[in-house]
């Protein structure tokens, strides 16, 4: 089993290197002439103002929560979907009931305008 995860481990390694290598190379190769203007965040020609630590809109939270709920749904459905072809009818109906309940919740949230970006 662990051998099958070698590729996952390699993928993590390559992904980490892709993130680390370019800044590391740039740090090695760049000429070092610091200037306060150079360390400002790049804002497409605008001067940045205010703090970076700003308060976010509450709507981000409900979107993250909706994502969490359907993420959990996907995790529950995955083992069921994997053996779908071998399932008796009542087991399929159980899964469909699971889905319909959550579809109802999604329609409720939609109807209440929770998915609108206000």
């Amino acid at each position: 089993m662990l051998a099958q995860f070698t590729f996952v481990g390699l993928l993590f390694l390559v992904a980490a290197l892709l993130g680390i290598l370019p800044p590391a190379l740039a740090w090695l190769l760049r000429p070092k002439k610091p200037h306060p203007r150079k360390s400002e965040p790049y804002e497409c020609g605008f001067y940045p103002h205010g703090e970076a630590w700003v308060q976010y809109k509450a709507q981000y939270y409900i979107f993250a929560l909706a994502f969490l709920i359907f993420d959990v749904e996907a995790v529950f459905l995955f083992p069921w979907a994997l053996i779908y072809n071998w399932l008796p009818l009542y087991a399929v109906i159980e899964g469909v009931l699971f889905l319909l309940l959550l579809l109802g919740a999604l329609l409720y949230a939609w109807r209440k305008g929770a998915l609108e970006w206000a």
Binding site: Y61, E94, L101
Partner: protein, 169 residues
């Protein structure tokens, strides 16, 4: 006992979990604490892989590191007071947290000693197709069919509750 790759990986992930957990409770910036918590979740996923539970590992990554990590970060960024200045490390409830942690540690040590460390190490081999077996037991009426449907109801309740709270603001 020879040192195999799984031992090295176990110590790596255990270090990730323990170090990350210490960082979560000691860093003063709550936002950074949330990022450390995500490292703890990642280390837990690695431990699940070593325990040959790939489904739990994937669920850990998707739900805890992906969704709950982001949810915690959004919750922190919603509250202006926390973002302003670093918070003190301990609040008035530290003794309650310490008590609960000590009780949990006691339970784990008690159970481990009762089962016996040798039993834990020489556990039965993991059957193949664990996810398929999980799928069968999830929809089996004599297994967890009721819990499976109740989980759906629980998720519906969470979504409706969240919508209600946001609407009332």
């Amino acid at each position: 006992m020879t040192l195999t790759l799984s031992h090295v990986l176990f110590f790596l992930f255990a270090l990730m979990v323990l170090g990350g957990a210490i960082a979560v409770v000691t860093v003063r910036n709550l936002f950074h604490a949330a990022l450390w918590l995500m490292l703890v979740f990642f280390g837990m996923a690695g431990l699940y892989v070593l325990l040959e539970a790939p489904f739990f590992a994937a669920a850990q990554l998707f739900i805890y590191m992906g969704a709950i990590g982001i949810l915690i970060i959004f919750a922190i960024m919603l509250t202006r007071a926390f973002m302003r200045q670093p918070m003190p490390r301990a609040n008035e409830q530290w003794w309650l947290a310490a008590l609960l942690a000590a009780v949990l540690l006691g339970v784990i040590v008690f159970l481990t000693l009762r089962v016996g460390l040798g039993e834990v190490v020489n556990a039965r081999p993991v059957p193949e197709h664990t996810i398929q077996i999980l799928g069968v037991t999830l929809v089996d009426p004599e297994g967890y069919a009721l819990a499976f449907e109740v989980a759906s109801v629980l998720l519906v309740m969470a979504l409706i509750g969240a919508v209600t709270i946001v609407r009332e603001r």
